[in-house]
């Protein structure tokens, strides 16, 4: 009885795994299939779509810019958000709801409305700071606030922040040491998750970049698709696989240490649940 129930459960698990796996893999396989099609009916399969990526200067530039943004934005997000959230929790708990509201607000504002507001600011930024695409990090910082806030908040909630920081302070640690040597190591998983969500969003962002006339990866993919849909699909697939590889890497990094903190135990790899992988937002 017990054995047959166990067997049924095992079968059920495999069925679920296969169905979910197919759900995720089928579109990727279809993209790969499309990216290797020949130009004519019954034409043989070709990797031209992939090899032409390197021969499309705009695309290479778009990839480099997006990768730079994928580094700058998570760093800026962490530098801005983490100390703010720690300070609010420790010293200004009454402001927590207000900060939460502000951070979640971008979720409710459509990208197009955001662009209308951002356009005059970006005119000023382009004149006074830099006309380079990397300045998109300012706008992306706003976009990633809701996802990052939620993830970091769960991480902070899983540790006894007050006691740990006070213990460190009583031992002689300044605030920078408290942050770098006590807070950050104890919410490593939450920080990685928040960073990963940010990277995923940055790599997939199209609307704001396009409407503000910046050329990032997705904008270039769109341009290329007008003349060479195989190459644009290849690049889109490449960015998706890159994002999945990052997620996998994260799960391995999360498991690497023998003694997970509570934050790591309770936080799922929330990237997939955010539903923003490789999508244009």
């Amino acid at each position: 009885m017990q054995r047959s129930r166990r067997r049924n459960l095992l079968i059920f698990r495999w069925v679920v795994l296969v169905v979910v796996g197919l759900f995720f893999i089928a579109p990727l396989v279809a993209m790969f299939e499309f990216s290797t099609r020949g130009n004519a009916i019954n034409a043989p399969r070709t990797l031209d779509g992939w090899t032409q990526v390197a021969q499309t200067p705009g695309l290479i530039k778009g990839i480099i810019v997006s990768l730079e943004l994928a580094v700058i934005t998570p760093l800026a997000m962490l530098v801005l958000l983490l100390p703010t959230m720690v300070w609010v929790r420790l010293r200004l708990p009454r402001l927590k709801r207000i900060v939460e509201f502000i951070c979640l607000l971008p979720l409710t504002v459509p990208a197009i409305a955001l662009v209308v507001g951002l356009k005059p600011i970006y005119v000023w930024i382009e004149i006074n700071i830099s006309p380079e695409t990397q300045v998109l990090a300012f706008a992306y910082l706003i976009l990633v606030l809701p996802y990052s806030y939620r993830t970091l908040d769960a991480g902070l909630g899983a540790i006894d922040l007050q006691t740990l920081s006070e213990a460190a302070r009583s031992l002689g640690a300044g605030w920078a040491t408290v942050m770098l040597r006590v807070v950050v190591p104890n919410m490593r998983s939450a920080i990685l998750n928040a960073s990963l969500l940010t990277v995923a969003l940055v790599l997939g962002e199209y609307t704001i970049a396009n409407l503000l006339n910046f050329q990032n990866l997705q904008v270039e993919v769109e341009y290329v698709s007008l003349t060479n849909s195989n190459t644009s699909t290849a690049v889109a697939l490449g960015s998706l696989v890159f994002a999945f590889a990052l997620l996998l890497l994260l799960s391995f990094v999360g498991r690497a240490r023998g003694h997970p903190t509570r934050a790591e135990e309770i936080l799922p790899s929330s990237a997939s649940s955010a539903g923003i992988w490789g999508q244009r937002v």
Binding site: D160, R169, L171, N186, R262
Partner: protein
């Protein structure tokens, strides 16, 4: 215990007129306290009495609204927590979860730029002191609550702080571990000779561990003295009732004595005004004798319950209009099963009186 003290290595700690308010509520109201070098003072009191606030002001984790904190003649009131050179053990488990016990202990030494060899040696010494050398490479999640608090104590001592602050470090532990660790804290404190401020709401803990106990109430220090004095000669009804068990027996003050059901007891404060009052009588000053005479009397009643406490027992006697607790040896108590008619004999120790239930104004 203080007689066994080695040469004191600590410094004098002075709290001068320290006060703190939270949103209009006074948590600490002009606290004055001087802790001698190497002395262990326990601040005892109910929740919200200001004892933890006092400790946090000493630690620099909060800023005082008024008053001064002085360590060995140096005013540290304006210094932040990380510059005060205090070691602190918290009520909640406070080990850094991503570090081993050894790394936790080395943390403060690292911040003081000690060499790796020096750090390792000092950390080894203090872990040895708390008996946890064998657990050096364990993480907090691999240790029991008692072990974690011992590592926290070692971590606090490793930096050789000016003052050791203990914020209810035993309250999260079970009774047996608690009592063992309490003795261990005292042993270590005596061995190191560090000036220590210990905060607790547990009177047994405070009386057992401290050189002097300060009983706090409503942000003020009600009484400060050696444990025996606090227990035997409380100066206020709050202290009398908070420390140890107390019977509240109706009486009448007259001529420096209080008449309690016909028994005349001397008053701690002989100048108390005449009139009705509540006498605060310790259960151990009440003894019981079997009563054969069926005639009811003011000090005659029936045993209604007995609480076994080990070597002693507490017997509850119903006098008709009030109940009284008497504490005696278990052997004596066993001769008085529930229902036994007994006569109360009140030992003529000086007692405190309360005038009013709500204000508990002392005589």
């Amino acid at each position: 215990m203080s007689e066994n003290r080695p040469a004191r290595a600590g410094v004098e700690v002075r709290l001068e007129d320290l006060s703190r308010r939270y949103a209009g509520v006074t948590a600490l109201n002009g606290l004055n306290l001087t802790i001698a070098p190497g002395e262990l003072v326990a601040l005892l009191g109910p929740s919200g009495c200001g004892k933890t606030t006092a400790l946090r002001l000493v630690a620099g984790l909060e800023e005082a609204d008024g008053g001064r904190v002085v360590f060995g003649g140096n005013d540290v009131t304006g210094l932040p927590a990380n510059k005060r050179d205090v070691g602190m053990v918290f009520q909640a488990y406070s080990l850094f979860p991503h570090m081993t016990a050894l790394q936790n202990v080395e943390f403060g030494l690292q911040l003081r730029h000690k060499s790796p060899a020096e750090r390792r040696q000092r950390a080894g010494e203090v872990l040895e002191l708390v008996g946890l050398s064998a657990h050096s490479y364990k993480y907090a999640s691999q240790m029991s609550g008692g072990q974690q608090q011992r590592v926290a104590l070692a971590r606090a001592l490793a930096i050789q702080p000016t003052v050791l602050l203990l914020d209810e470090p035993l309250s999260a532990l079970d009774a047996k571990v608690r009592s063992r660790l309490r003795d261990e804290i005292r042993r270590v404190q005596l061995e190191v000779g560090i000036t220590t401020l210990f905060v607790t709401h547990d009177q047994e803990e405070a009386l057992a561990i401290a050189d002097r106990v300060g009983v706090m109430n409503k942000g003020r220090l009600e009484q400060l003295g050696p444990p025996t004095e606090i227990y035997s000669r409380p100066t206020t009804s709050f202290v009398a009732e908070f420390v140890g068990l107390t019977n509240r027996m109706a009486g009448m003050v007259k001529g420096g004595e209080v008449d309690v059901r016909g028994a005349r007891l001397p008053l701690v404060r002989a100048d108390s005004a005449d009139g009705p009052a509540i006498a605060l009588v310790r259960p151990e000053t009440v003894s019981l004798a079997p009563e054969t005479d069926a005639t009811p009397g003011p000090l005659v009643g029936s045993v209604i319950a007995t609480s076994f406490l080990g070597a002693t027992s507490r017997v509850t006697v119903d006098l008709g209009d009030e109940t009284v607790l008497a504490q005696m040896t278990t052997a004596d108590a066993s001769k008085l099963p529930p229902g036994t008619r007994v006569r109360l004999v009140l030992r003529p120790d000086a007692v405190l009186i309360a005038r009013d239930e709500s204000t508990a104004a002392e005589a």
